[in-house]
């Protein structure tokens, strides 16, 4: 499933210039065959850089970033009360203890690993990541996280056509985010955030931290976990920041190596 989604995303992320054609390579016409050949060699190198991380399951070694014990200490396993439980969250929840739902951390670890891996690959390929959270408690934290890893954040009132009516809301040539990460899938009135539905409409993959009162169905990579405790939110922000930075550093390394090998 992950590989299928990744190939879909690669097609989405592929820039027009990577489409090869005879002599009009990458949308540019070349005066001589030699120039076209050189450009083809560049394309091959770029393709190799792009596709090489896909050959290994955990290329960015993200499983080292966290363990079940860290998640437990950050109180990620604490859900809401039993009465608030969403029907579709039952597979991820052990049950309730003193009326409080307990989330299965082993499933959380798998889901979180998959989500972070996907985020890393998107960041590696230069995709735009948008961090969304409508919780006022953590709005500043999420915005700071986005700023520190060079990505984008939206923790304010979500205007209707931001994704679906983008050319009019912004400017005609705007590029939409390639991945949306929800640190909390509910808005301030305990309804599902509009961004989830809009992202699904615009074919944008989503990663979301789903608590026991959230609906995980429309989210591509749900991560069952607590979204109310400050410790848990800080941990998620730290993890995503480290993932994105790692992926970008790796990409810069590969570009440098390619530059050295091309010149040498």
């Amino acid at each position: 499933m992950a590989a299928g989604v990744l190939t879909r995303v690669t097609q989405v992320l592929r820039r027009p210039r990577l489409v090869t054609a005879v002599f009009s390579c990458h949308g540019q016409t070349f005066s001589s065959a030699a120039a076209a050949v050189k450009s083809t060699r560049d394309t091959a190198a770029t393709e190799k850089i792009q596709n090489f991380p896909l050959t290994q399951p955990d290329y960015f070694r993200l499983s080292e970033l966290f363990s079940i014990k860290d998640l437990f200490e950050a109180r990620v396993h604490l859900g809401h009360k039993k009465g608030c439980r969403h029907r579709l969250m039952e597979p991820y929840v052990f049950g309730s203890r003193l009326d409080v739902d307990i989330i299965d951390l082993e499933q959380t670890v798998e889901h979180l690993q998959r989500a972070l891996n996907f985020t890393a690959h998107v960041a590696y390929r230069g995709g735009i990541i948008l961090f969304v959270s409508r919780r006022r408690q953590f709005g500043h934290l999420v915005e700071s996280t986005a700023r520190e890893c060079g990505e984008y954040a939206h923790t304010r009132y979500w205007k209707g056509g931001l994704l679906t009516n983008a050319p009019i809301q912004y400017s005609p040539g705007v590029r939409l985010p390639d991945l949306i990460v929800f640190f909390s899938t509910l808005n301030n009135v305990f309804q599902q955030h509009v961004g989830i539905r809009d992202a699904a409409k615009m074919n944008i993959p989503t990663v979301g931290i789903v608590d026991s009162n959230c609906n995980p169905s429309l989210i591509t990579y749900p991560v069952p976990g607590n979204d109310d405790t400050p410790v848990a939110m800080e941990m998620y922000c730290r993890l995503f920041k480290m993932t994105v930075n790692r992926a970008k550093d790796k990409r810069r390394q590969m570009e440098l190596l390619k530059g050295i090998s091309a010149s040498g």
Binding site: G126, I128, L130, H140, E143, A146, R147, G150, E151, Y152, A153, H154, R156, K159, L162, Q169, Y170, S171, G173, V174, R175, P177
Partner: protein, 385 residues
């Protein structure tokens, strides 16, 4: 290829063809026999909806070209006026343009101007993303990036001050009486000024929220750490009384001090000479004010400024008035007396007179009659049937 070009030609002919003409275009044998329908084409179809386009947008190259032309034109103008092109300031430009292109137009903004393009063309936001398509600002996708980034910075500063407070508390040095920011005599930026500052539309609720956050910052004891930041959003209030024009005190050959001033109300014009002779006589148009204003209210209006300042018996009033009715003439004279009195009175008294409304010209005039009504407000008699 031939069919597509034929189709293209046909579409062009259809687009620019006049209404009602049927077009017979020779078709190649490869295209199927389609019935030619008369398509009604009115000019309203290809007229541009100018209102929907929004305010005119200027490209950066256009503005750069305008700036170059301005600089070159400035040098030409300096040479024309025989002055040094290097030290030609904006005031010199304005002077020269007023000299070379004298205009009798009333509105100053309609006269010819030569200013730097930055002051003429409205500030526009440049393209917000780089070659890859990645936006520059991390809050671009919110839609209001400058406003939200300002809120973000504000909150950051509030957190920093709280951390500083906690540090002081832990060291035991926390005091409530710290240096406070001087806020008297200044006001917050207005909504329009904020929009100009952020180059973005700011709604009423957004503006209120921003001011609330600023006030929260100012309510903290150690807010003086961010004084510079806060003062950027404050504007000095102009002291109203300093703008008052006080008439000059002149001296008689006998050494008596007097001042002259005018006043107007509705269509009455009055001119007053206030003499410091110490008698308290009032003469209007050559006769005693009792003869000119038989009604008590008018005479009260005349003497009210002197009564307010407490100098009733000190001055001699000599005035001339024309136009309008007795009440308007009294009001005009009162304004003239108050203005003349300013030169004999202290600064504090001037402010008191201003606040009492003695120095404000009454702007009320006769309201116009409207069609379908008998007068300005009176409607025609309503008849049930």
């Amino acid at each position: 290829m031939a069919a597509s070009s034929c189709r293209g030609v046909r579409s062009i002919l259809r687009k620019y063809g006049s209404c009602g003409k049927s077009l017979c275009v020779s078709r190649s044998k490869t295209a199927p026999q389609l019935p030619v329908r008369q398509i009604c084409l009115s000019s309203s179809l290809w007229k541009k909806n100018l209102a929907a386009a929004g305010p005119q947008k200027f490209t950066q190259e256009f503005i750069n070209k305008q700036v170059e032309e301005f600089e070159v034109g400035k040098r030409h103008l300096a040479n024309m006026m025989g002055e040094d092109p290097e030290t030609f300031t904006q005031e010199d430009i304005d002077r020269s343009i007023a000299y070379l292109f004298p205009s009798g137009l009333f509105d100053k903004r309609a006269r010819p101007i030569m200013k730097h393009p930055e002051q003429i063309f409205p500030k526009q936001t440049a393209v917000q993303w780089d070659a890859e398509g990645r936006p520059f600002h991390f809050l671009f996708y919110t839609g209001k990036q400058s406003y939200y980034s300002l809120l973000h910075d504000l909150y950051e500063k509030i957190l920093a001050i709280e951390r500083h407070q906690d540090k002081m508390r832990s060291k035991g040095l926390f005091t409530s009486d710290t240096k406070q920011i001087m806020l008297t005599g200044s006001r917050w930026l207005l909504k329009e000024e904020m929009e100009e500052h952020l180059v973005e539309n700011v709604s009423d609720q957004d503006y209120t929220r921003l001011i609330q956050l600023m006030e929260k910052l100012l309510s903290m004891p150690y807010c003086s750490l961010e004084e510079e930041f806060v003062l950027k959003f404050r504007r000095q209030l102009e002291v109203q009384s300093s703008k008052q024009e006080i008439p000059v005190i002149q001296y008689d050959p006998q050494g008596v001090a007097f001042s002259v001033s005018d006043g107007r109300r509705k269509s009455a014009k009055a001119s007053i000479t206030l003499r410091d002779s110490g008698s308290g006589n009032v003469t209007i148009n050559g006769k005693n004010y009792l003869r000119h204003f038989p009604i008590l209210q008018d005479r009260e209006q005349l003497l009210f400024p002197l009564h307010f300042v407490g100098m009733l018996g000190r001055f001699d009033i000599e005035g001339s008035v024309e136009g309008s009715g007795h009440s308007a003439q009294a009001g005009a004279l009162r304004l003239a007396i108050s203005r003349a009195l300013l030169s004999f009175v202290s600064e504090g008294q001037v402010e008191k007179m201003r606040q009492a409304g003695l120095l404000t010209a009454d702007p009320r005039i006769k309201e116009r009659k409207k069609p379908g009504q008998e007068g300005a407000r009176r409607k025609f008699t309503w008849k049930k049937r």
